[in-house]
Amino acid sequence: MFGLSKRDAGLLFVVALLCLFAPFILNPFPEGSAMAQFNGGYPDLMQRLVIFGIFAIGFNILFGLTGYLSFGHAAFLGVGSYAAIWMMKLLTMNVIPAIMVSVLVAGLFSLLVGWISLRRSGIYFSILTLAFAQMSYALAYSVLTPITGGETGLQPKHTDPRILDGALPAGQSPRANLFGLDMKASTQLQLGDWVFTFNAGYYIAAAIMLVAFYLSIRIFRSPLGMMLRAVKSNQQRMNYTGLNSKPYTLAAFVISGMYAGLAGGLLVAMDTQVGAERMFWTASGEVVLMTILGGAGTLIGPILGAGFIKYMENIVSKINDNVLHGWFSFMPDGIENFMVTIIHPFVGKGWHLTLGLLFMLVVIFLPGGLVEGGQRIGNLFKRKKADPKSPDGTTTTPAE
């Protein structure tokens, strides 16, 4: 199917189903119940999950295949975002030009950065990409303020020119749309106490992620992908056979930069604003963490990692003492307060602590990331001898 092996097509199908039914899967708890705090099926989070999924898929094409660890990928996401918002300010609130230009601009920028950085390998490469990203961040936050908005970022205003759009009706703020379909438009389905939200923007982003995922499978399975894996396993030997690896790695770098730009453009399309923090090194580090956490070099790992981190960030940080008291209110007062005191450091403002602990636990006990966790559980049920191959046919040993 679509030029994929049966196994890959199956994987694509599973991801498509997950995307399609995400509003149900992420909202397992009935409204009003104490567990509803853990529901993640609201438009903004669902959009972020798939957008950062795209970002991580793209990063994995570079890191998972070639082993080149870029520590500056957030710069491409940021540049893509700025390009998109300018399209929205100058041209039209339709997301199509914004997304296309964001991919293009990020591709060009990554061509420049990759062309320079790929002269070095290993940690020297990482530091070069980090340096470019940090420079982009610092300049965007300060001297480039006229272009980037600096600290306050950029948002569409009703006073922007927007030459392709007609004048806004009074009282309307500019809304990102796809030929008139508002990205924020939602419809809801109520089943008993459960309410599920279907958001236009989410489904558009999810469709784009499926395309991106499909392309990444094709790249993994293509001769280019084979070449890139050769770079990872032994670049020297490859060079000795007379192959110049640079064009291949540069291609991988630019492709993953374009994925980052696509994610940046989609972020703007779903939530029309850009801030320079998007390019800070912690944002670059985040995509590294997503990929490793999910399982570097595997197809689905980065999506899982991205989902895991974004879910934690948005859900755990919102649990405050008030909520905790609500959960344990059925207990006697003493025990209730004790439970709240115990859990308090790990939720709400302590969500970073939980995240840090989970990073450590996953990497200590699941060297192949969440994908390996999934496999182990799968094997447990199958009661078969452990299959050394991951679903996409490569070993789960993460790249260096």
Partner: protein
């Protein structure tokens, strides 16, 4: 001229902080081959050793002073440090005043212990794992460590002043024949510079002139062969980790008066110290120190207003720009060895 001299002085001081952190980081890179993202957190914990020690010194009990009222109109609670009762008010205040230098004594064992626990409990299991895993686990550890500090000390910076005798600044300008006040430098920063020089010198001497150091250097060059010679290199590496942690911690202790410690100061330094190490060249201790001073001085120059008028924003990017230029002209940084972390 005086402006340039001043910035060189400045750069040396800034550079000594970078060099100290980078030195510890390189020790761990070089000996253990581990990318330690928790190194900034060790620096931060060092600074909080100073904070904790001053808090210990000022441990107080509360007495109620009926003659004064607090902001709600209730009788005022006054804290009296125990140390005032033990050694009298004057001596007590003098000891509290010297809290930062004294806390070195407290920080060294604490940091070595933390280093040992980290190496034995966690890092040891990651020697054979890919660098990416090392990054993830040490980054997770860094987050955990800083969140623990935040839980106990809050997010706000905590003022940790140097002893009163080091307040104010020394006038180099007057000494060198310039106008007074043109080249001034704070006493405490001079102390920091001297301290850094001593520590860096001590680490080099230790590696260069002791048998232990020789074995470690041999292990850095070829771990397997040294192991085959029947030397227990693991134990020595654990000790090296402890030393590296202590170096980072001491850098943090002495830095506390310069910038009030806060829980994320480690992350602020982390990226910078990695840049310094890599620009210096992976696995090279002299390279790390050299790069520290070089970047410190260039950063200081970039902040001069004459240069800022020429190239606006250069102070924002100078370190990264220099890093790119150096890495493009010298493939392995200033003094890096071939084949270290190049895969």
């Amino acid at each position: 001229m005086d402006a340039i001299l001043l910035q060189i002085l400045n750069g040396l001081d800034k550079g000594s902080a970078y060099a100290l952190i980078a030195l510890g980081l390189t020790l761990i890179f070089g000996t253990l081959g581990v990318v330690n993202f928790a190194h900034g957190a060790l620096f931060m914990i060092g600074a909080f050793c100073a904070v904790t020690f001053s808090k210990l010194l000022t441990l107080s009990h509360t007495i109620i002073d009926d003659t004064r009222k607090d902001f709600l109109g209730n009788p005022m609670k006054v804290d009296v440090p125990y140390i005032h009762e033990f050694v009298g008010q004057t001596t007590g205040d003098a000891i509290i005043d010297w809290a930062v230098p004294l806390s070195i004594l407290f920080a060294v064992p604490v940091m070595i212990a933390i280093g040992f626990i980290m190496e034995r409990g966690l890092i040891k299991h990651f020697y054979k794992r890919p660098h990416a895993d090392q990054i993830l686990v040490t980054f997770g550890l860094a987050i955990v460590l800083q969140e623990v500090i935040k839980f106990f000390y809050g997010a706000n910076p905590i003022p940790t002043p140097a002893p009163a005798v080091f307040a104010g600044s020394f006038d180099f300008g007057a000494m060198l024949g310039f106008d007074p006040n043109t080249i001034i430098y704070p006493y405490w920063r001079l102390v920091y510079f001297g301290f850094a020089a001593v520590i860096i010198g001590a680490v080099f001497a230790f590696l260069q002139f002791t048998t232990f150091g020789m074995v470690v250097r041999a292990g850095m060059a070829d771990r397997e062969t040294v192991g085959l010679l029947g030397i227990n290199i693991d134990k020595r590496f654990t000790i090296m980790f402890g030393i590296a942690a202590a170096v980072a911690g001491l850098a943090g202790v002495m830095y506390a008066p310069i910038n009030s410690p806060n829980y994320h100061m480690g992350m602020d330094f982390l990226v910078l110290s990695f840049v310094v190490v890599v620009v210096g060249g992976m696995g090279s201790l002299p390279g790390a120190v050299l790069a520290g001073f070089l970047l410190g001085i260039l950063e200081s120059f970039a902040s001069m207003s004459a240069i800022l008028e020429l190239i606006p924003g250069i102070n924002q990017i100078i370190i990264y720009l220099v890093a790119i230029i150096i890495l493009l002209t010298r493939p392995r940084g200033l003094m890096g060895r071939k084949g270290v972390m190049e895969e």
